[in-house]
Amino acid sequence: MNKPAGLTKLFSISAVVLLLFLLPLIIGSQYIMYVLIWLGISIALTSSLRVISLSGLLSIGHGGLMLIGAYTSALLVMKVGLSSWFALILGGVAAGGFTCLIGFPFVRLKGMYFSMVTMFMTEVILMVSEQWKSLTGGSAGIMNIPRPDPIKIAGIIDIDFKSYTDLYYLILILVIVSLIVFYLIEHSRIGRSWQAISRDDLLAESVGINVAAYKVLGFTIGSFFAGVLGAFYSQFYNVITPSEFGFFFSIYILVYMIVGGRRSFIGPVIGCILLLLIPELIGGLGGYRPFIFVAILMAVLYTLPDGMASLPTRLKYTDLGQWFIERFAHA
């Protein structure tokens, strides 16, 4: 990347971030704030799933990992009385630690078999949380989980997280931090090794990459962020019920990633906006939503196997795209 292009990129990203910070001043509606919080959770969650997928692992277990984070945080806040901020991190540590422990036998499986095992992992987590009533409250779940602890600095800052606007700022910061971390890891030696593994694991092993350990590392990092987001979810929604994080929850996250484009860093962002924000804002789809969802999924997979993020490159090589480039780019 040459310097001016890098600067333009940096400038436009800062402009978008600034706009997102100013958004609550323009939009007063708490409903839209609520939708945007969901969007933020989904974007970070889908991106963390993409971190796992970099080494070639397609996990259908993100819902279960998020549930682990949500329960850990809720129980630490409510039963132990820990600060919600520590609980947020510890939710991630619990989910990440869980996959770090179970990861090694899992990553011996490849392709679809890994996906199947993660799917059953979610089912087991759900079953345990439905049956272990004394700890998790059974299928009714946990209610009245407190909002994040207020941040108070006398006279200057006073955020009590009562409104959705405050929570919007919190998730915005979480999304930005996690995306920066994901970007930096992906463009470091570790990210390169993950991509090498996903392309040819035997060759990667032969040049000294510890394939199993690197896969588990990716799985753990992705799960850590799923856990943090689960913890945030519990503090934002105030209620957790296991059934919400079932099979379809994980499938939806996977579909966001695939429709957006798993090869591209902004793929998950595009996928979430397309499949979550647009149907929500159009509204009134009611029970037909799954149909619209599947229609978009099939249309994208059929026309753009690499997801929506590959659309610009695809268009560039059509006749119309070439015509536009000749007409406008050379002017």
Partner: protein, 254 residues
């Protein structure tokens, strides 16, 4: 440098390698030859840890590496190439070699996330290292080509470049010249002998006998999983047993 003692591998009832002994000294250029199905590739897979031996010992520079995993063996300095064209597809040639520089770059997770100056220096160093390897293997002009778009001969050379990126002390080449035309064979042979002159010990399997004879300084012949003969190329071509194994007995064309 490398010492193989009594190596045995059974696949079910089939004995692929039986009580095989072999040594490779530092700085040697040894060829392992034998008819199809003789167990050459199995020996390579056993030495590099891709399959675990049933019996026997493999010692590399005083370390017992028997049964260790491939990535650990690569860390000791034994790196292999593959018979099939194994490359990182969807990567450019430069990215392929850069990704293979895993062992020369020790950037940790936290260094990578916080982009410390040390991490950036190491990244820069590995990138330069990768470019040097491309220059050495004459792939420099193709560094931005996608690896899967390379012609067959260059794919095989890229396979060697990827192995070189792991900085081998002992480089194990599994039929590096297979499927090449005579020009490509000449170029690849030249590269292999330059690698050897650069103080890398080489162990090689090859079916192209002419190239194997001219490259290798010592040959080991394996047949039915057992060592049959060992010696200088000139001795091997005159060895009656070897001729029998390759051509069969009692040929009577009349």
């Amino acid at each position: 440098m490398l010492e193989i003692k009594g190596l045995t591998k059974n696949f079910g009832g089939l004995c692929a390698v039986n009580n095989f002994d072999m040594t490779v000294e530092k700085g040697e250029f040894v060829g392992l030859i034998g008819p199809n199905g003789a167990g050459k590739s199995t020996v390579f897979n056993l030495v590099t840890g891709f399959i675990k031996p049933s019996k026997g010992k493999i010692i590399f520079e005083d370390h017992d590496i028997t049964g260790k995993s491939p990535h650990a063996i690569a860390k000791y300095g034994i790196v292999r190439t593959f018979q099939a064209n194994r490359i990182f597809a969807d990567f450019t040639v430069l990215q392929d070699v850069w990704a293979a520089c895993h062992l020369t770059n020790k950037t940790g997770l936290w260094e990578g996330i916080f982009r410390t100056s040390g991490a950036r220096k190491k990244e820069q160093y590995t990138l330069e290292h990768a470019q040097e390897i491309l220059k050495f293997t004459n792939l420099e002009s193709m560094s931005q080509t996608f690896a899967q778009n390379l012609p067959h001969g260059y794919k095989r050379i890229l396979g060697i470049a990827i192995a070189l990126a792991a900085q081998p002390k002992l480089l194990i080449l599994d039929e590096p010249l297979s499927g090449m035309n005579s020009e490509e064979v000449a170029e690849a042979s030249n590269l292999i002998s330059r690698i050897w002159k650069g103080k890398t010990t080489i162990l090689l399997i090859e079916h192209n006998m002419r190239a194997a004879m001219s490259l290798c300084k010592r040959l080991v012949v394996i047949n039915f999983g057992e060592k049959m003969a060992e010696g200088l190329p000139d001795e091997i071509v005159r060895n009656q047993e070897v001729i029998k194994a390759y051509l069969g007995v009692n040929i009577n064309l009349a």
